[in-house]
Point group: C2
Chain length 185, copies 2
């Protein structure tokens, strides 16, 4: 059991990731996860609504980080630039646990029900981004379009971040993906 | 019962839209819809997996239309322009039943579970668009980025198409939204 995550929540996340990788997501139960983590089932359900939520424990923090980074961005940035500041801040969280992010994305890619939940979380990121841009004074449809575009960049940059041999930083992937997007227009 | 939809499927869709508007989506059952449409419950379930699917009967046709329009677009169009040709073709289907589209979007906006299904259908439209662009020879990440951007335009253009007093055409909304997107970059 990983000493790097001494708390119960961290142990459950680590146990779940091991079990999902060993047996598959569908074949793993909340009870299995609690057992492997050395906690009771009750403790598990105090932290997570279901076994799917173990994979989305960082989503709320990530969305909050995006929101705060956009509000803190220099006032002279365009709506898209401000939104991308939020995306880069989200990437900083991913950089802190790259291996977890890679394993997590493999598990999600193998399970349609997890892909659906991931889509919902990305939609929440679009909504939060647009809201933060409106607070900065961006009008519609600029706020909405910039929010969608920034989350598109996040999505595509993430795919290259986890797949490229050279292991570029997330911020580099965002810069490259943004350049590719601008070239398309 | 609308004579404009003499077939059983059309009658069920019309009955469902009436009931969802009168009672709300949650308070309407498949049995209610079958009864109002003058068909048996068995007939209902031969056409639709559940009452939610009544609202998504056009999704497969729309995604297919997008795919075919992109493949049929002139070969010299850029990936984004080709993708937008698909979006305009999808808009032509919406124009054919504007009132239905408006009522449908109100029902979906009022129900989180329907919003989730709508997100999944939009994600399917992104995947199909990217696939069609790759068939035209678009490389990655251009195909993926153009597909996401075109569906963003669809989403934002749809909102202005159903809300603007002047009732612009869907193609006009797509043109305006695309211009706003280009200006952001």
């Amino acid at each position: 059991m990983g000493r790097w995550m001494p708390d119960a929540q961290g142990r459950m996340i680590r146990a779940a990731m091991e079990l999902f990788a060993e047996r598959g997501f569908e074949q793993t139960t909340a009870v299995d996860i609690a057992e492997r983590a050395g906690v009771t089932e009750r403790t598990f359900f105090r932290h997570f609504a279901d076994k799917r939520e173990v994979l989305f424990d960082g989503s709320a923090t990530m969305v909050h980080t995006v929101h705060e980074a956009i509000l803190a961005a220099p006032g002279d940035l365009s709506p898209l630039e401000a939104a991308l500041t939020g995306i880069v801040a989200a990437g900083d969280l991913l950089e802190e646990r790259r291996d977890h992010a890679v394993r997590r994305s493999r598990i999600i890619a193998a399970n349609p029900s997890l892909q659906e939940r991931e889509l919902l979380k990305l939609a929440a990121m679009v909504d939060t981004t647009a809201e933060a841009l409106r607070k900065r004074g961006a009008p519609e449809p600029a706020a909405d379009l910039a929010a969608h575009s920034a989350v598109t960049v996040f999505h595509v940059a993430f795919a290259s971040w986890i797949s490229e041999q050279a292991q570029p930083s997330f911020a580099e992937c965002v810069a490259q993906t943004t350049a590719a997007l601008r070239k398309l227009m």
